[in-house]
Every structure is written in structure tokens, then in C-alpha cells.
């Protein structure tokens, strides 16, 4: 009787879907006819099943992990979900379709019926055929887990899209889907942070993102390089997003052609700007050459001169035993000479030290440079879009060729204008 009521209810639900709500139903007569046929059919099936001695129609009795554990059930991608059925008779697993949150998840290979658990075991795998479904289920994640309802549907011989007709006894059962595994998230966070620290954290103290045209300047005071900065932005974004997608989806093939092209464009821009810097004769070359002639080839030499001043000052200040007059005069002269060299050094490098990240990015010796500003703006905008798209769609965005061409033109414009430009 229970099965009969279930079939009647299911039939009625199907009829409603087919003919709409009662109030605006236009073809009421057809509806009534179908309802009647459904009830008759259900009664016939019920009678048949009683006559054959089989169980009532299947429903989901519970959810478990593949080993049958129903407590604190938490499964993520690549995990196995056991959907326990009300029947103890083995069923053909290939005839059932899995629905998560009402979405049909196609092409789940390795689905089988576990006779011990009386359950269908679904391997929650993501592949090219179902990736869009998973993207819809997992996209825009705001927490590590989410609750997912499970329903089943019967596959049709004609391969038409199945419908979620098999639920729990009263409602669709739910389980906790692990969007991001904490330990994988931890490893990924460490990997991403390490990269970001290496690239950006050291940027202020090292010459990684600096022009380094005058190596005699303390790396902390070197001017930021727009070309290197842009390259670092795209590298960081693509790397972080790739790691994010990998830990989320377990898919190592998320890099899109467009992401590679963005990295290529930014790399080419940075490389071209270095080539231009190396090829043209700029005031920085003069300072570099002049300081070399003064014996200052790198910042290490500056530190050496400072130390020599300190050492000589200490020796000059030592009174025990008192220094001979000629030695004191010599030390004094050597200190004065080195102080003069350092004064000249400071004077010469002053126009070439960093005035802060933003000013370094957008200005040259003539002030704000439009070609620099446009590179900065487009990189920032596309970078933000890139991050949003990855978070929202769980895939590297597919930028149009026009947009990529825009980035290339922007970079080429920067390199072209850089030739006569003087970085200050």
C-alpha cells in the first residue's frame, strides 16, 4: 500500500510538471484523464508486484561513505558516496543517475551496487563531461563545506535526461560535501604564500621587482620596474589560481591558453623593457659608469667604504697608546676622502632612488607617463577579473582575443615609449 501511495504521489507530481498548476491549467480534461490513467497504472503495477512477490518501489534510505559509515558523513571530490536503497535486491547500477542539489551529475564512472550496504556507490569524480555541473555546485565557495541533497533518477533506454524521482522516504537526504579539504588547503596556502612572499615580500628588500639599473644603490631604494611588476602580477595570479583550482578540483589541467598568453605577454613586455634598458644609453648608465670609476661597483662597495670610515674613526679615537701624528693625519685624510666619495655617491644617486611604488610605476623623468599608467590600469583591471572568474567559475577565464590583443598593445606601447624615456 505504501508503494502504491508513493507511485500515485510520484505520478501526480509528474502530471503537475506536465500540465502546470491547477489554477491556470488550460487543458483540465486532459489532466484528469492522465491522472486517472496514472492511478490505474499504479494500481496495476502494485497488483503486479504483489502478484510476483517483489518489494515496493525503491527509495533512498540513507547516505554513507563507501565503508558504510553514516556518522559525520563528509565527502569531497574523488570520494565515494553510498546511496542506500530501500530494496535488498541487487539493482543494476547503470540504470541510476545521481542528482546533487537537484543537478544531474553525468558520466560518473565506477558506479556499482554494494550488496553488503544495499547501496549504490557513486565515485564523485570530475571529468570533462561533468565539469560544468561541478563548477555550478562548487563555484563561488564561501566555506570549506556545503550541504548537498541527494536524489536519484532512473536512466531511460533512449538516453534522455533522467529526472530526480527517487528521494528519501520523506525528503531528499543530505550530506556534507567537503569543498576544500583543510590539509590540502593548508598545503596550498603555504605554497601560494611562499611564492607571494618570495616575489612580493622580498620585493622591497631585494632587487627582484626593481630596475636595478644602478646596482650601487641599496636594493631597498631601487626604483620599481613596471615590466617586472606586471610579469610578477600575472605569474602570481596564474600560479595562485592554478593551485586553488588544483586543491579544489584535483584537476591538474586547469591552465587555459589565455592564462598562458597573459603570462607570455607580460614576460615579453618585461624582457623587452630590459632589452631596451640595456640597449639605450641613459643617465643611469652614466651614473653606473661614473660610480664604477670611483671604485663603487655595487652596494657592497658602499658598505665597505662606510666600514672603512668606521674602522678608521675607531682607530683615530683610540688613545691607548696614542697614535703618532703622521698616522693620525693619514687616517683623518682617508676618512675625509671617503666621506667626500659617499657625499658624491648620495648626490649622484638621489635622482634615481625610489619615490614609492606608485610613483615609480607611473612616472618617468617627465612626470606621470600615460603609457605607464595604461599598463598599470589594464593589468589591475584584468587581474581583478581573472581572480573573480576563477573563484566564480572554478576555471581560468577565457579572455577574448581582442582583450589579449589589448594587453599586448598596451605592453608594446610601454616598451615603445620606454625607448626615449628616462626613469627618474
Amino acid at each position: 500500500m505504501k508503494t502504491f501511495l508513493f507511485l500515485v504521489t510520484a505520478s501526480c507530481q509528474q502530471m503537475r510538471r506536465l500540465f502546470g498548476s491547477k489554477r491556470d491549467r488550460a487543458n483540465g480534461q486532459a489532466f484528469k484523464t492522465c491522472m486517472f490513467l496514472s492511478i490505474v497504472t499504479s494500481a496495476f503495477l502494485l497488483g503486479g508486484s504483489i502478484a510476483q512477490g517483489t518489494e515496493a518501489p525503491i527509495h533512498i534510505t540513507g547516505l554513507a561513505s563507501a565503508d558504510g559509515n553514516q556518522k559525520a558523513l563528509a565527502i569531497g571530490l574523488d570520494g565515494q558516496l553510498a546511496v542506500m536503497l530501500s530494496t535488498e535486491k541487487p539493482v543494476d547500477a547503470s540504470q541510476f543517475a545521481l542528482f546533487l542539489n537537484g543537478r544531474f551529475v553525468p558520466e560518473l564512472d565506477d558506479t556499482f551496487y554494494d550488496t553488503r550496504l544495499h547501496a549504490l556507490i557513486f565515485h564523485l569524480q570530475r571529468n570533462s563531461a561533468n565539469s560544468s555541473v561541478w563548477n555550478g555546485l562548487l563555484g563561488s565557495p564561501m566555506s570549506l563545506t556545503s550541504q548537498m541533497s541527494v536524489t536519484l533518477g532512473a536512466r531511460h533506454p533512449d538516453n534522455s535526461t533522467p529526472q530526480p524521482t527517487i528521494t528519501g522516504a520523506t525528503a531528499a537526504p543530505t550530506f556534507t560535501f567537503v569543498i576544500l579539504s583543510p590539509w590540502r588547503l593548508l598545503i596550498a596556502t603555504i605554497a601560494v604564500l611562499s611564492t607571494l612572499v618570495l616575489v612580493w615580500g622580498a620585493a622591497r628588500k631585494s632587487a627582484v621587482l626593481k630596475d636595478n639599473l644602478i646596482p650601487q644603490i641599496d636594493p631597498k631604494r631601487q626604483t620599481y620596474s613596471l615590466g617586472r611588476w606586471q610579469m610578477a602580477v600575472w605569474f602570481s595570479l596564474v600560479f595562485a589560481c592554478y593551485v586553488f583550482l588544483y586543491i579544489l578540483l584535483g584537476d591538474p589541467n586547469t591552465l587555459s591558453n589565455q592564462a598562458l598568453m597573459l603570462m607570455g605577454i607580460s614576460g615579453a613586455t618585461a624582457l623587452s623593457s630590459i632589452v631596451v634598458d640595456a640597449a639605450k644609453d641613459t643617465p643611469t648608465d652614466g651614473v653606473n659608469a661614473g660610480l664604477r670609476l670611483m671604485g663603487i661597483k655595487s652596494y657592497t662597495d658602499v658598505e665597505r667604504i662606510r666600514k672603512e670610515i668606521t674602522d678608521r674613526t675607531l682607530e683615530l679615537g683610540a688613545n691607548d697608546p696614542p697614535l703618532p701624528a703622521d698616522r693620525a693625519a693619514q687616517l683623518s685624510a682617508e676618512i675625509l676622502d671617503r666621506q667626500a666619495i659617499l657625499r658624491t655617491y648620495e648626490e649622484d644617486i638621489t635622482p634615481f632612488v625610489s619615490e614609492g611604488w606608485f610613483r615609480d610605476m607611473v612616472t618617468d623623468v617627465n612626470g606621470t607617463a600615460l603609457h605607464r599608467l595604461q599598463v598599470l590600469c589594464w593589468t589591475g583591471l584584468l587581474g581583478a577579473i581573472f581572480v573573480f572568474e576563477v573563484w566564480h567559475n572554478l576555471a581560468m577565464p577565457q579572455f577574448s582575443p581582442t582583450l589579449l590583443a589589448l594587453m599586448a598593445i598596451s605592453g608594446a606601447g610601454y616598451v615603445g615609449f620606454k625607448y626615449p624615456e628616462v626613469q627618474d
Binding site: G286, N288, G290, Q330, T344
Partner: protein
Amino acid sequence: MPAIEHVVVLMFENRSFDSMLGKLYPTDGTFDGLSGAESNVFAGRSVPVWSSEKMDPLSACIPDPDPGELFADMNTQLFGNPAGSGAVTMGGFVSNYISQKSEASSDPRAPMHYFRPEQLPVMSTLAKAFGVSDRWYASAPCQTWPNRFFAHTATALGCVNNSQFPIPFPAPSIFRRLESHNKTWRVYFHDLPQSLLLEDLWLVAPLHFRFMGQFFADAHTGALPNYSFIEPRYFANPIVREIPSDQHPPHDVVYGEQLLALVYNALRQSPCWKKTLFVVTYDEHGGTYDHLSPPSAISPDANSQNGFTFNRYGVRVPALIISPYVAQGSKIRPTNIKGAGTELPFPFDHTSIIATLRKVFDLGDPFTARDSVAPDLLPALNLASPVNLGPPTVSVPIVPVTTARSVASATMPSNHMQANLARMAYALPVGDGRQFTPTLHQIEISSLPLLATIARDRVKAFLRA
């Protein structure tokens, strides 16, 4: 007397008259230039005067390396022997050049080289637009310092070579004389001003010494002092990509041309122009050939060295006399009557600057016996009113200074002038209690760029005081 209120002197380095202006008026019998037949004999072969076909950087640096310029070298160039005995022949330039240690493998023709007018467009344009003198000699057959001191003090106090001078130089200068007569003066310089050696300027130097940029500002606003003395750039500085503009061999003469053009254009556009006398000359010939024998001179004082009493002029040097009061194409020799008259017994020399200043600004008695007989330049101002305004501008030669070029220039062996200017800078009292002054030998064997750096720093510190 012409209403001259501003006298501006630009003194370059170490080029003879013939090497720069010898062919300015090649067919004019009233101009004592080169005929082309002049020569020296070396190793039995005639080495004639010559000019390079091109005006590329190599040609613009001839003679390279630097010829000898010590007193003994000049004796050899003039007399054929270092003692300076016998008659002046002007026949020892090549042999002296080849005898220099660094020049043994050099082209023996180098000191006989001259630039054609088209190779020095600024100098030749101005010479023809105003006046040129073929009778201006260095004050003594000596190095830079003695001759520059003659321009400032009318004496070298008996020193013939740069390295012999006491620092500071104690003779009273024309600058303080101007000051005592309520006349204004400034020294405009690029890196190390040689005139900072003058002892009587040390106390007032910060008030009067200005970097060259100030000259252009003063000219533009009409704030030029009564007397401006301009010193070219003596040192290369790769940091700011500067190359010497002093034309001292083997420095590229084009950068001197640039400086000359810039100074003329600034003066020409200045409100002061109609009251300005602009003199361009060279301190000494620097071992480059000139065919005219220097005449005898009046000894400035009782000082002498090894029997030389400074009773001879040095080799002829170029001199341009530029003013709206000077007629176009003037060929100027010292006379007592404006534009005519009998040639005076003494030629122009650097003390003519002092004589002119004394006369223009009524500065009183001469400094020494030399400037007492030196002809002044007022007769050269041969127009009754300032009507020869000259070309509105002259083209400034554009020769980009690359880093490689400035580095090459900075790493040349130091010349005597540079080494001694560095010595001067070390001796400047900048209030740091320095007691150790390196000897000339110590400076010469050190890195010149490093010394120049320290020297520039000390000059700046001194002038800030």
C-alpha cells in the same frame, strides 16, 4: 670711450693661433695666418702643416696624445733645445712631440695639425662677424697656471710650471681691484675653477664664484657683473655625462665650440649686449704649432727661474674680440688709435685683459711692469656706436655625449692642469681640519676620476662656506 659696462672673458686651453685660426683668411696679406708651406724638420724629413679631411671625433682630438707643455718642452719647440738658447726657429714642435714618453709611437705630424674654418664653425663665424687678433700671445712660454695668473695678476711670480706654484697664489688679483673700485665680478665655472688658486679670493670666493648655469641666468636677466671670467670644463664626469670643453689636447674641440656658441648666444640675447665686450682666448699653445716667433716682452717683476725673467712672450694664441662696437671682419692688432695708427711695440697678451679692465673701469695703477705696457682693447672697438649686433644666434654643434665617450674621456691619463687642480682642491681650507695634502706625484698615479670626485666635493664645500 665706448660705453662698455660688461667685460666677459672666456679662456680655453692649449691651442695655438695657427692650429685654430691659421686658415681663417688664407689669401689676405693683412692677416698673419698659415700659407700652407710651413713645416718642421724631423729625422731629416719635412713635416708640413696639415689638416684632416674629416671632422670626426678622432680628428677633433688631434693632437692625441697631449704634446709636451713644460717650460723645457716649449724651449725645445721654439729654440730646438730645452735650454732655450740660440735663435727662435719654431722648428722643434715635431721633435719635442716625438720625444715625449707617451708619444713615441704617435703620428709625428700631430702638432702640425690645424683646423680649417669650416671645421670650427662657431669660432670662425664669430671671428669674421666681429674681430680677430693675430697679435695675441701667451704671456709667457710656460704652462697653464703661469699664463692664467698673468691674466689675473699680470705675473707668475717666477714659476714656469704648474707644479711649482705655491697654493694659494699670493699675488693680488684684478678681481679684488675691481671690488675695491665698487665694480662687480664673478667667476663662472664648470667643475674646478683654476682662479680659485688666487689667495686674495679665498675670503670672498663664495660671494663671487658661480656654476656656469648662473651665467646664463645672469645674461638672460641682464644681471651680468662688470667683469665675468668664464672657465670651461676641465674634467670629464661620466655621472652627468660631461666631457671637457676646455679644448686642451686631446680633448675634443667640438665641446669647446658648443660652449662658445652657448656663451655668445646668451650674451647676444642679453639686455647687456650693447654694453658688452666679449674676449675669447687661450691660455697657451699647449705644444701645437704656430709659425710666428714670440717677441720679447717686459719682465713683469724681479722674479725669475733659472735665468728666465719672463722677458719673452709665449706662443701666439687665438683671440676673438667680440662686441657691437667691433666692425664685422676686423683684424685687430694693437694700435694706439682706434682702428688705425701705428702698431704698438708690444702685442696683446693676457695682461691686455687687465689693461683693458683698468682703462674701462678706471681701476688705477698697473699691477706689474707687464700690464703697464700691455695694449688694451679699446682701440679694437672701432665703431662709434654699438651697431654691429652680430648674428642673432650661432648654431650650437650637437654632439651627443654617450656614457662610453665620457668614460673614455675620464679615464685618459691626467694632464698637468687636471692633476694640479686636484692638488689645489686638496689644499682648500674647507673647515675639516685636513692636514694631509697629497703631492703631485700621489695625484698623478691615482685614479683621476676618483680625485676629480673628491676635488669637486671640496670645491663645493669651500664655496658653500
